[in-house]
Amino acid sequence: MRLYAVVAAGGFRRYATYRTATLAGVFTNTVFGFIVAYTYLALWDERPQLGGYDQSEALTYVWLGQALLMTCAMMGAGFESELTERIRTGDIAVDLYRPADLQLWWLAGDLGRAAFHLLGRGVAPMVLGALAFDLALPDSPWMWPAFLVSVLLGVVVSFALRFLVALSAFWLMDGAGALQMAMLAGLFFSGMLLPLTLFPGVLGEVARALPWSSLLQVPADVFLGRYTGWGLLGAYAFQAGWALVLLLAGRLLQSVATRRVVVQGG
């Protein structure tokens, strides 16, 4: 347990060293936040209460999206390209030799990364957004920890998905194509482009049931007070259920994959 805590702290520190990049990222998140916020304002001007949100809730959704983009890695940019590279080059053999579990090792590091991104690239755009627009912030102080739990579950689901995709490199050798497809799915089905409650008909129902909705749609709805009491537990159960299924699938794939590893001597 101590080992994984150290790995997580390492993940945090590693991203904390890129200070200029973090500032630049905050700037970009804020610029995009403004652009998208204005388009949502125009949309909600035409149709108040669209998708079950009023205007300030819709604006809050925009800024939550910018704040969680890196935390929940909706467009990737976590450990996955590093892992596929290690599989491609064969360095993965060294990782498998370590007295640590492969999946837990990368999960710990990714949790550290996510924690840094939440503080480094999440808080500032959210504060700037709240200064510029009338956002619907939670009334009850309890909503903040409730939101954080949902974000944590979202990060784990995001990790489990990316771990699965990265392991595909054992078969595909070059994981770039698979990672790109995963990024596309993450961008579209997380609700980053538009809240999933605005997706029409069956597309909307399917999108809301897929694991990617745990990355933004569910945490945002928790933040906006859509879930209370048993409803909140239900939302957590949805996220935790996907996390469990995907982590187990990753574990299964990992054991199949590692049996394929052939270490070349030299």
Binding site: A24, E46, Q180, L184, L194, L198
Partner: protein, 288 residues
């Protein structure tokens, strides 16, 4: 480090040297691009997949707009075909620029890891080298998607075409690409100081093209002022496209501004070129 043109009085001789450097730069650019094309096409399957991926990823922008229009008939007072025209022009210009110059944002990384030194010792303009670096043909996916949306707009829009409007279409795509290109180069020059701040550049390039995909009436006046007079992105699509659509301009600008894009593009390149030279001259190698 004399590869950077020395400052001096503008004589016929230096002007001639500048021109030959330009020719030399374009030639080198072509050679490096050809090299990367051969390398790209060695992995056909990977090329096809990443091109399709590029097509889909930018396609999602327009899918988002279509999803919005499944709930409303107009956004900021504009219909879907009108927004498709703004989108098509801006995205085509950006796609063209991204294909030709998109790699310059890697300068920061090269400054950081010291590989820029390799480019400095070659007898070829550095800008040509970084622009052609890892030339990514897969970006054709982005242009294809943009041209399809532009085609959809032109087919569905009911425009009273005049020769002037027809001529303005290719002009705005090409000048727009040049304006975006100047932003790319200026952003790359900024990397000499900031090193790992390439995301700031994304705010202006990717952010800029996203902004231009929506009508100016959607945005706050100060924002529109900023992208008209400070970073003149409004000349990429808004001002010329609104002339074609016969719409009012933002900020009560006169009608003739629709024909300024080539001039604005030229001005932007002069400035970007100066900024690039200053940036490159201030470069200090990281050593080893």
């Amino acid at each position: 480090m004399d590869a950077v043109a020395a400052p001096g009085p503008e004589t016929a001789e230096t002007a001639f040297a500048d021109r030959s450097r330009l020719v030399e730069g374009v030639r080198a650019y072509g050679l490096i691009v050809a090299m990367w094309l051969r390398s790209t096409l060695a992995y056909r399957a990977s090329f096809v997949m990443t091109t399709v991926g590029n097509f889909l990823m930018t396609g999602f922008d327009f899918v988002t707009i279509m999803l919005m229009f499944s709930h409303v008939d107009a956004l900021g007072g504009y219909t879907l075909p009108e927004i498709a025209l703004l989108y098509g022009v801006s995205a085509s210009a950006f796609g063209l620029c991204d294909l030709l110059l998109g790699s310059v944002d890697r300068v920061g990384q090269r400054v950081r890891d010291g590989t820029l030194d390799t480019l400095l010792v070659r007898p070829v303009p550095v800008l040509a080298q970084v622009a052609a670096d890892r030339f990514a043909l897969r970006r054709l996916g982005r242009i294809t998607q943009a041209l399809l949306v532009l085609g959809y707009a032109l087919v569905t829009l009911d425009i009273a075409w005049t020769p002037l409007k027809v001529a303005l279409l290719p002009v705005m795509v090409l000048s727009g690409a040049a304006i975006f290109g100047a932003v790319f180069v200026a952003g790359a020059a900024f990397q000499f100081y900031a090193q790992d701040a390439s995301e700031v550049q994304n705010a202006f390039t990717y952010g800029g093209t996203t902004l231009l995909q929506y009508p100016p009436s959607v945005f706050a006046r100060d924002l529109v002022r900023g992208v008209t007079f400070i970073v003149p992105l409004a000349f990429v699509s808004w001002l010329p496209a609104l002339y074609v659509l016969g719409r009012d301009y933002p900020l009560d600008l006169p009608r003739w501004v629709a024909f300024l894009p080539p001039l604005v593009a030229g001005g932007c390149w002069v400035l970007a070129g100066l900024v690039w030279r200053v940036g490159l001259r201030s470069y200090r190698s990281t050593g080893s």
